[in-house]
Symmetry: C2
Subunit: 332 residues, 2 copies
C-alpha cells in the first residue's frame, strides 16, 4: 500500500473542505472532521479519512442533512435527549456531552439519548470525553443487521459496538470500544483476500454451518456475535438500549429505512454516565488505582485504551493511503 504523510492539521482541513464542498455547513463539517482527525491521530484508521467517501455519499444522496440543527430536550432532570435533525452523529454528540456532564456532576448519574442521526464514528470519543471529566461513560449503538443471534442463521443484530471508559486522576482513562460482532465484515474480507483462516465462531456459511473459511462467510454467509450465546446476550442489550430505550430504529428497521448509498444508516445512540465521586466517594481514585496496579502486574495484560493514547503522543504526520487521498480529492 502506497501512503502519503499528512499532518493532523491537514487531515482536518481535507476532511472539512470535502464535507463543505458536498453540502455540510461549517458547524457540521467541523464536528465530523474532528472525529475523523482524532481517529487518525489515535491510529483508528478505519474511523478516519476512510469514512469520508461514505459521509459524502450520504450528503449527495440527501439521506443526511449537512446543515443539521440538533435540538435538546430534557426528558427528566437526569435524562437528556438530543434530536440530531437527521445529520451526522458527531454534531449531536458534541452538543449533548457537555449537558450530560452537567447533569451527572449534579446528580451522580445521567442519561443521554441521541436520535435521528447517522452514525459512522467510533464511540470512544464520547465515553473518553466523559472520563476526562472524571465521569464513567458507557455508550452503545445499533447498526445495520449483519450478525445472527446465537442459534440463528440469519442476521438481526448490527455490529452493535459498546464503549466503556473509566476515569483516572492525572492519567489517561481506561477506555474500550468494541463491536459485539466476532469480527468486522471488513476484517473477514481481508482474511479472505489474504488466504487466512478465521476462528470457528466468527461466522456461518450460506447454509448456516460454522466455517473457518472467511470467503464462505463474506459470500452469502453471516457474522456471529463474539463469545457465542453470551456475546449474543450483550448484543441484544445493545440493540434494546440504543433503539428500544432511545426510541430510534432497531438494526432491522435501519436497513428498511436506508437508501443503500454506502453512507451511515440512520439510528440512535445510548450514553450513560456516573460520577464515582458522588457514588463511591472520595476514595474512588485510590481504590481503582489499586485494582489497576494488580491488573498491570500480570504479565501479558494491557489496560484498554493505552495503545491509542500512546499513538497520540506522536504529533507528526500520519501515513495515509494514497489511493484513498486521490478518491477524497476527486469528491469536489
Amino acid at each position: 500500500m502506497t501512503t502519503t504523510p499528512i499532518s493532523l492539521d491537514e487531515i482536518y482541513s481535507i476532511a472539512k473542505k470535502t464535507l463543505i464542498n458536498n453540502g455540510c455547513d461549517n458547524l457540521n463539517a467541523e464536528a465530523v472532521s474532528k472525529t475523523v482527525t482524532y481517529a487518525e491521530r489515535d491510529g483508528s484508521v478505519s474511523h478516519g479519512l476512510f469514512r469520508i467517501p461514505g459521509y459524502v455519499a450520504a450528503l449527495r444522496s440527501k439521506k443526511v442533512k449537512g446543515n443539521s440543527k440538533p435540538t435538546k430536550k430534557n426528558l427528566t432532570q437526569n435524562a437528556i435527549q438530543i434530536d440530531g435533525d437527521y445529520g451526522f452523529a458527531p454534531m449531536a454528540i458534541q452538543i449533548g456531552i457537555p449537558e450530560l456532564v452537567k447533569v451527572t456532576k449534579n446528580h451522580g448519574v445521567g442519561v443521554l439519548t441521541i436520535k435521528n442521526t447517522h452514525h459512522f464514528a467510533a464511540l470512544w470519543h464520547e465515553t473518553e470525553a466523559l472520563a476526562e471529566n472524571e465521569l464513567i461513560g458507557i455508550a452503545c449503538t445499533a447498526y445495520m443487521p449483519s450478525v445472527a443471534p446465537a442459534g440463528a442463521i440469519k442476521p438481526l443484530f448490527g455490529t452493535n459496538p459498546i464503549s466503556f471508559a473509566w476515569p483516572r486522576k492525572n492519567k489517561t482513562p481506561v477506555v474500550y470500544d468494541m463491536a459485539t460482532a466476532s469480527m468486522a465484515m471488513g476484517e473477514v474480507q481481508v482474511a479472505a483476500r489474504d488466504g487466512h483462516k478465521v476462528p470457528f465462531g466468527t461466522g456461518l456459511n450460506k447454509d448456516g454451518k460454522e466455517t473457518d473459511n472467511p470467503s464462505e462467510i463474506a459470500n452469502g454467509g453471516v457474522l456471529l456475535p463474539f463469545g457465542g450465546y453470551k456475546g449474543s446476550a450483550i448484543a441484544l442489550m445493545v440493540e434494546l438500549l440504543s433503539a428500544g430505550l432511545v426510541g430510534d430504529l432497531f438494526s432491522f428497521e435501519a436497513k428498511e429505512a436506508d437508501n443503500k448509498d454506502g453512507g451511515p444508516a440512520r439510528g440512535g445512540e445510548f450514553i450513560m454516565a456516573f460520577s464515582p465521586q458522588l457514588i463511591a466517594g472520595d476514595n474512588w481514585n485510590d481504590h481503582s488505582e489499586k485494582f489497576f496496579e494488580q491488573m498491570t502486574s500480570l504479565e501479558g495484560v494491557r489496560l484498554p485504551g493505552q495503545r491509542r493514547h500512546n499513538n497520540r503522543k506522536d504529533t507528526g504526520p500520519r501515513n495515509i493511503n494514497t489511493k484513498l487521498l486521490e478518491t477524497i480529492n476527486s469528491l469536489k
Copy 2:
C-alpha cells in the same frame, strides 16, 4: 442421583428453619429463603438449596451477620446506597429495590449500590423485579478471583456475572443473568469427572497453556473470560462498576478479606434502572415488541428468561438431591 420430591412451600420452610437454627433472625432468614425457593422454582438449582450449607458455614464462622440491619443512604436524589451491615445480600436487596423503583419512576434513571454484603444468589431476582415494575434493570457483582484477564495466566476477575432485564407489558420480561467467566468452575469439574472435553478458550492449565482437558483447568489451572479479550473487557467493566463505583471490595480484595469458610465472600453489587416510559416515550412497548417478533421469527432463537418462566408454571414439588437434603437436615 437419588432425589426426593419437595413442595416449594417445604423448600422455603427447610431453608428458613435451617438459617434460623444457625443464627439468622426472622427477616434475614426470610429474605434468603425466598431467593433460594425462587431459584428452585425456576430450575436454577445451583442457586437453590445447594447454597444452604455455604450460608450456614458463613453464619457459624461469624463471617456473616444473621441479624443484619441494612441502612439506606441517599447518595444523591438518584443514587441510593444500601449498607448491608455484613449480612446476606438478599436482605439488603429487598430493601433497596423498592427505593430504586421509586427513584427511577420519578427521574427516568436510578442507581442502587449495595455494599457490605455477602453475595451468593443469582442476580435475575433483582433485575426481574425491576422489569416487573416496567423498568429496565442491569445488575452486576464481582466475586472471588478465578478468571484470568485475556492475555494473563493468573486469576484476577471473579466470575463477575451481569444480569439484564427488559420489561414487556402483559408478558414475562426478557431476562438474562450470566457469568462473564467462560464457564463455572463447578461445570469444569463435572466435565472432568465425566471424562468430557471442554472447548478451547474455557481455561488454561497450570503452565498457562490453553487446554480442552477440564481436569488440567480444575487442578492448578485458571478459567478464562467468555469470548476472549472482548469478554475480558466486559468482566473488567463488571469489576469496576461493582467494586470501584460501589466502593466495595474488588475480587482480589474479597479474597484477602475472606476466611475461607466456604460461604459467600464479602462484596458489593451495582444495580441501575431506566424507565422506558420516561425515556423512550409511550411507544416503547409496541416498538420493542416488533423487535422481539423479528427475533423469535428466526429459527433456533429463544428469548432469554423464557425457560425459567416456563419452569415457574409448574407449581408442583421439585426433585431435590436426597444427599443434599440429608446434609441440610444435619445442619441443626
